[in-house]
């Protein structure tokens, strides 16, 4: 090796990101494991940037109010909405939960609506990914500002689904049954499709955004050419800013291409706040009073100014991933091997390196451990919502990241998982896996109890 090469190698090794599975967010990783574990800024943010993080935090946390209001920076709520502050659903920047049985208001869970597409609706489908209910739109808003009717109420109850493991242990899963009552604007479309979704945790989103498209595409195996039973594919969704179809990566079905569009979509759909990226409230043509309501527009013509949208984007990109607590524990390490052996890592891909030209320099060239491939997989009938979204079929879901999952209890006081919060713990979540994940799930079902516990312990160590 000549001196030149040596110099290059030295240079590269000094600058290359350090791979440390105990620090899943790379240099941005934080070490808190308490109730604030999901609320901290990337550890490598400079102080001047931490100030911006605290500004974004303020807009993420503080409630928006009805317009007109003295709070001009934060008015324009509704008229229909699910909640009045981001933080109400992303509780402590963490995971939402389904409402209690027969609780009147869902808050940190919402119900998406759509109807089957008809011939001639291809353009709409290309841009919206779904055909919204003609009266109620793309999601049910169970709150409204004074003078308007909430669209309805979400009621949820559960059906028991017993599962017997190989060692005779019976685990009783619960399958949610969602019912909409008190419809204020007449009946829904007879073929309406409902999909309940809880708010996902906010950590590490900027790092996920910084994974290159090619990395995601390289994993695709839509026709399962390698015959491993796994046929992941990326969703292809509409980018409002670029006005074209791109890869989807955020949301339970990867229906959003960028964090900014995801944020703008949540502002519009969940809070009734327009922005440059999402210019209309979720009022349908049949909801006249909603259409005619006073708005809280700023000089640019939107309720969420470009400045505030940018602050919230910066904040949501930099909510840091916490370090793992006990990666060296022998049971955890055994669980990690079982996780790989059972094929879980085929979709819950442990590691990526983020792009060197990531939008925020702190998030660039980091070796991260999100345990997701961000691709869509058929998860079987048990988990299906039968509601397609862009390319995602009714039984396809995007692999959710697992980082931070073991801190859900510490941050949110519960361990409910999956898109509608039906799983009450890690084992239940695993047992819901079907479709492409059926084989892996079956392996877990046949594991001796000690192995199962080690596997769960590993997942909870993340």
């Amino acid at each position: 090796m000549n001196r030149f090469c040596l110099a290059i190698i030295t240079l590269c090794s000094c600058c290359a990101a350090l791979a440390d599975p105990a620090r899943p967010g790379g240099a941005a990783t934080v070490s808190d494991s308490g109730p604030n574990a999901f609320s901290l800024p990337s550890a490598n943010l400079l102080p001047s940037r931490k100030v911006d993080f605290s500004v974004g935090n303020s807009f993420f946390r503080n409630p928006w109010v009805t317009a007109p209001s003295s709070t001009t920076a934060r008015d324009g709520l509704g008229p229909l909405f699910n909640t009045n502050a981001c933080q109400n659903c992303h509780i402590k920047d963490g995971r939402g939960h389904p409402p209690a049985v027969d609780d009147g208001n869902a808050v940190s869970m919402l119900v998406r609506l759509s109807i089957p597409a008809q011939p001639g609706q291809e353009n709409l489908l290309q841009q919206d990914g779904v055909i919204a209910d003609p009266v109620y739109g793309g999601q049910l808003q169970d709150m409204a500002i004074p003078g308007h009717q909430p669209e309805g109420k979400v009621r949820i109850h559960y059906r028991d689904v017993p599962v017997t493991l190989a060692d005779g242990t019976v685990v009783t899963l619960r399958k949610p049954v969602v019912k909409i009552t008190d419809l204020a604007y007449g009946p829904m479309h007879p073929q309406v499709m409902l999909s309940a979704r809880v708010a996902p945790p906010m950590i590490g989103l900027g790092l996920l955004e910084a994974i290159a498209d090619q990395e995601l595409l390289a994993q695709e195996d839509a026709d399962d050419k390698n015959a491993d039973g796994i046929s992941g594919r990326a969703n292809r969704v509409w980018d409002n800013e670029q006005q074209k179809t791109v890869i989807g990566r955020f949301g339970w079905k990867a229906g959003q291409p960028t964090l900014n569009q995801q944020n703008a979509g949540a502002f519009a759909g969940d809070m009734g706040l327009t922005s440059r990226v999402h210019r209309a409230d979720d009022c349908t043509a049949l909801q006249l009073s909603c259409q005619q309501s006073v708005n809280g527009n700023d000089a640019e013509g939107y309720e969420v100014s470009d400045k505030i949208l940018a602050q919230v984007l910066f904040y949501s990109r930099n909510l840091a991933v916490p370090a793992r607590r006990n990666p060296g524990d022998p049971a955890v390490q055994r669980g990690e091997k079982l996780f790989a052996d059972a094929g879980c890592a085929a979709c819950h891909r442990p590691s990526f390196t983020t792009r060197s030209d990531a939008a925020e320099p702190e998030l660039a060239s980091q070796v991260v451990y999100p345990y997701t491939d961000l691709l869509l997989h058929d998860m079987g009938e048990g988990l299906a919502d039968h509601r397609p979204e862009f390319l995602a079929s009714g039984s396809e879901w995007r692999t959710p990241p697992l980082w931070g999952v073991g801190l859900t209890q510490a941050v949110n006081g519960h361990t409910q998982m999956l898109h509608d919060g039906r799983a009450r713990n890690v084992l239940e979540a695993i047992l819901w896996h079907g479709g492409e994940a059926e084989k892996s799930m079956s392996i877990v079902k046949t594991m001796p109890a000690a192995d199962r516990e080690a596997l769960v312990k590993f997942v909870e160590s993340l």
């Binding site: 070490s31 550890a43 931490k50 007109p68 003295s70 920076a73 004074p146």
Partner: protein
């Protein structure tokens, strides 16, 4: 709202300051100072004999600051009693002056909030902001109640009963205990019934000037008896004001008690903790107030939103002093020096001397940054004295005003870097609690 159609409504709506729904009251213990960038210094074993006196003196300063806050609050209480007994414009002015004086030591106490949860826990009842003034008293006709906040239009002064959900609250006698129980009524953190800002509202009233010049302008006759009473319910308004003042005094008495020597209190607990923990609390408090709270929550949010709603002392237009004395408090802790309300100076073993003994340059840098911050905050005070207050400086389109505020923010950020650097000189790596995993 549609500006083109309703410019007048907008002008009025913009004006009411102080009403805003839930802001976590003691704004989240702030983005803490930065993590160490170059972890080269080994954590030094702390020299107990050198460090313990510094921590004890820190407690002495806390005691002096809270004692001054208490004394000035008692003076405020007396001024309020005089106002109620004899509601003249002169007595109202005297009460306002007493309130402004009470803010001087109190704002210097806030550096003790972060890192010392005993202080932070009581802070909500003492200093919560912003508040929904419709909870307390009458407001302008265009006042927009925050959605979903049942308390926003409760008007405790005008009502002897309040229905919240299925509960009927008896408000017939306004006592300190009743007011304390009404904080965060119905779960909304904007429902602030007590503390400095509730009193501020009762002395000044709504600031209806928006980002234009002028503070609140409540008449003394709001406390007049009989037919001279303006805006109704003067007797209950007086009762409210006196109850809020009594609670303020009581809370500050409790704070003073936590810092008294030779007692079974927080000070004793701090004295038993390892000295490194004490140093970490001191520096964490300085950094947290400097960066996340003052530069971020109190200044940059207001600047970015161009929003008087996010102004700290908004009824009285005293925000410049509020910020200035916050900065002073940070400086006090570092220099081990506090100028008391009576003009005497308390000084003793300081963090500055300790840092200097380990790293002359680190001390020099932080001293410079503290001085730069103080002058930057002084420019906000000077501007107010020349007629342009903080709520005008943050107005959209006020480029030179915005620049002044931005200059203060930048100084606070640079100061935080120097605080972190000084911490490293003392062998305290990663002052950021998220990496130290200390919830204190």
């Amino acid at each position: 709202m549609r500006r083109a159609l309703f410019p007048l409504v907008l002008a009025l709506a913009v004006a009411a300051c102080g009403k805003q729904p839930a802001d976590p009251v003691p704004a989240s213990p702030a983005a803490p100072p930065p993590a160490a960038t170059a972890a080269t210094v080994k954590p030094a074993a702390q020299d107990e004999a050198a460090v313990r006196p510094v921590i004890n003196h820190y407690s002495d300063i806390a005691l002096a600051v809270f004692s001054d806050a208490l004394a000035t609050a008692q003076a405020l209480q007396q001024a309020i009693d005089r106002l109620v007994a004899e509601p003249t414009e002169a007595n109202l002015q005297a009460a306002r002056t007493a309130w402004l004086a009470a803010r001087v030591p109190y704002m210097q106490s806030e550096v003790f909030r972060f890192g010392n949860s005993v202080v932070d826990d009581r802070e909500g009842q003492l200093n919560a902001w912003p508040l929904d003034e419709g909870l307390i008293d009458y407001v302008a006709a265009d006042y927009q109640a925050a959605l979903g906040n049942a308390g926003a239009s409760a008007n405790i002064i005008a009502n002897t009963a309040l229905i919240v959900g299925e509960k009927a609250l008896d408000l017939s006698t306004i006592t300190p205990e009743l007011l304390a129980s009404l904080n965060e009524l119905g779960g909304s953190e904007a429902n602030v019934a007590t503390g400095y800002h509730a009193i501020e509202f009762l002395l000044w009233g709504q600031d209806l000037n928006g980002t234009n010049a002028g503070a609140g302008n409540r008449p003394a006759s709001d406390y007049a008896q009989g037919g001279a009473c303006t805006h109704g319910h003067c007797e209950r308004r007086a009762q409210y004001l006196q109850a809020a003042a009594a609670l303020l005094v009581k809370d500050l008495q409790a704070m003073v008690a936590q810092w008294q020597p030779a007692a079974d209190n927080y000070r004793a607990q701090l004295a038993k903790e390892p000295v490194e923990q004490g140093l970490r609390k001191m520096l964490f408090g300085m950094g947290s107030l400097s960066l996340g709270e003052l530069a971020g929550e109190r200044m940059k949010v207001a600047l970015e939103a161009n929003s008087t709603e996010d102004e700290h002392d908004c009824f009285s237009d005293n925000t410049h002093h509020s910020h200035f004395y916050n900065g002073k408090g940070i400086r006090n802790v570092y220099l081990g020096e506090y100028r008391r309300v009576d003009g005497s100076v308390l000084s003793g073993p300081s963090l500055a001397a300790l840092v200097k003994s380990r790293d002359v340059a680190a001390d020099l840098l932080l001293q410079q940054k503290l001085a730069t911050t103080e002058s930057a905050l002084q420019t906000l005070v000077d501007s107010a004295n020349n007629g342009q207050h903080f709520d005008q400086l943050i107005a959209s389109g006020n480029a030179s005003g915005n620049a002044l505020v931005r200059g203060a923010i930048d100084a606070l950020v640079a100061q935080t870097v120097a605080i972190e650097n000084a911490a490293k000189a003392l062998g305290i790596q990663e002052l950021n609690p998220d990496t130290a995993d200390h919830s204190f």
